[in-house]
């Protein structure tokens, strides 16, 4: 008797569990679409998606510089700052929540982003005419997007070094914006990071592991160059592969591939 009782108890427990399971399943089914609003546009997102990713999926471009598709977001450059409930927060690291009302394309934020682009232009030595990345550069493209005629801040002209002693690549610290895309995104097959940061604060620079760097494939060297938003990492031996007129940002502004 007692055994059958315990059996029924166990069965009942199992039923409850199953019910709970199906309930949570139905709940997750329900929450598989998070509804939110960006600049008045009704959007939906998958759970766990960040504001930048979800906005992209809904055809809304939020300017980014350190963010790169498929890479763990780092929230460094603050280009993607959006307003949620009157507070500014980075869109690349903030997950979308149900009912969020996000402001992005508003004059206050756009001017702030423009100011950040200008700060980056004066902080380093960004001589577009001498740069191999010109036309394919994200920073330059953001300058075009915001119609930056001249930065509002005084030029710093810092003394930075070019390191061309590597085998496959060269690093021009004059152009580096320290977004750490290279550190986060470039790893060897066994998961070792090729790039790293050295020194601190204003003196911090990007360096590459010489032993690893000498052994990387041409494809990975090209990937490092392509993932760099500016011309700080250049692949040796090939240069100026695309003529003016056929470069990434020659014809259409940055963000047009996302914006619908």
């Amino acid at each position: 008797m007692s055994t059958s009782k315990s059996k029924t108890k166990a069965k009942a427990k199992h039923d409850v569990k199953a019910k709970a399971k199906s309930k949570s399943k139905s709940k997750s089914m329900k929450s598989s679409k998070i509804r939110f609003e960006i600049d008045g546009k009704e959007c939906t997102a998958k759970p766990g998606q960040t504001i930048v990713e979800a906005a992209r999926d809904n055809g809304v471009y939020i300017p980014v510089l350190c963010w790169y598709e498929g890479m763990e977001p780092a929230g460094i450059c603050r280009m993607c700052m959006v307003k949620v409930g009157g507070r500014t927060m980075p869109g690349c690291t903030t997950p979308v929540a149900e009912g969020m009302i996000i402001e992005s394309d508003v004059p206050e934020l756009e001017d702030m982003r423009k100011a950040m682009v200008e700060m980056l232009f004066v902080e380093g030595n960004h001589l577009c005419p001498t740069c191999e990345k010109s036309g394919n550069c994200d920073l330059q493209a953001l300058g075009y997007r915001y119609r930056m005629m001249v930065p509002r801040f005084p030029y710093q002209f810092p003394l930075r070094l070019v390191d061309a002693t590597y085998t496959k690549i060269m690093i021009d610290n004059n152009r580096c914006v320290q977004c750490r895309r290279c550190i986060r995104g470039i790893t060897t097959k066994d998961g070792r990071h090729v790039f790293a940061m050295t020194k601190r604060s204003g003196k911090s620079t990007i360096v590459a592991d010489r032993e690893l760097e000498a052994k990387i494939s041409d494809a990975l060297a090209k990937k490092a160059m392509d993932q760099c938003p500016v011309g700080a990492i250049l692949k040796k031996e090939t240069g100026f592969a695309l003529p003016i007129g056929r470069r990434k940002y020659d014809k259409a502004p940055i963000g047009t591939e996302v914006h619908k």
Partner: protein, 179 residues
């Protein structure tokens, strides 16, 4: 009212921006109808002969002569336009910024492999080199900026004609470039 008077100058630049101005092709005939040129390398007038309306500045300031020239332009022109990367941010000559002038001169006139007489030129006729190459707007007030290296001919034309006729400047994306 007469035609607006335009003056142009090339300072620490390569004359590329002036070439781009000439690159407006047949519109140069329209430009001649629209404006009168004063001090400019285009008509070879060396000194201001009257008050000008528009000053077209190419190149940044790398020596004392450039600075004097720029101040003279500010005095004689109602509107100054920084044209091109060098005028806006120093451009290629500004690659020397951050390196002390002494080191630059020694490299160019003493240590360079192709130098014959190892003398650093120091004649009072020669303008003094500034400690760094200055963007024009850090010396005098500049009213407008036209980026590019050189600014596209279309950009120069559209900006000049908008300024002269007073119509709104509408620029297509392809015209606005920094290289």
């Amino acid at each position: 009212m007469g035609k607006p008077v335009v003056a142009t100058v090339s300072m620490a630049g390569c004359f590329g921006c002036h070439m781009s101005l000439l690159d407006i092709d047949d519109k140069i005939l329209q430009l001649i109808d629209l404006v009168e040129f004063n001090k400019s390398p285009i008509d070879d007038i060396k000194k201001f002969t009257k008050q000008c309306d528009i000053g077209f500045i190419e190149g940044g300031c790398c020596n004392s002569e450039n600075v004097e020239n720029l101040m003279n332009f500010r005095k004689n022109c109602k509107i100054l336009i920084s044209v091109g990367e060098c005028a806006i941010m120093g451009g290629l000559p500004s690659l020397r910024n951050g390196i002390p002038v002494k080191e630059c001169l020694e490299e160019a006139y003493l240590n360079c492999l192709t130098v014959d007489d190892k003398i650093i030129p120091n004649d009072e006729e020669l303008p003094m080199i500034t400690d760094k190459v200055y963007p024009c707007h850090e010396i005098v007030k500049i009213d407008y900026f036209l980026p590019g290296c050189p600014p596209r001919a279309e950009l120069i034309w559209e900006a000049l004609s908008a300024l002269i006729t007073g119509k709104k400047l509408e620029l297509p994306y392809e015209v606005f470039k920094y290289d």
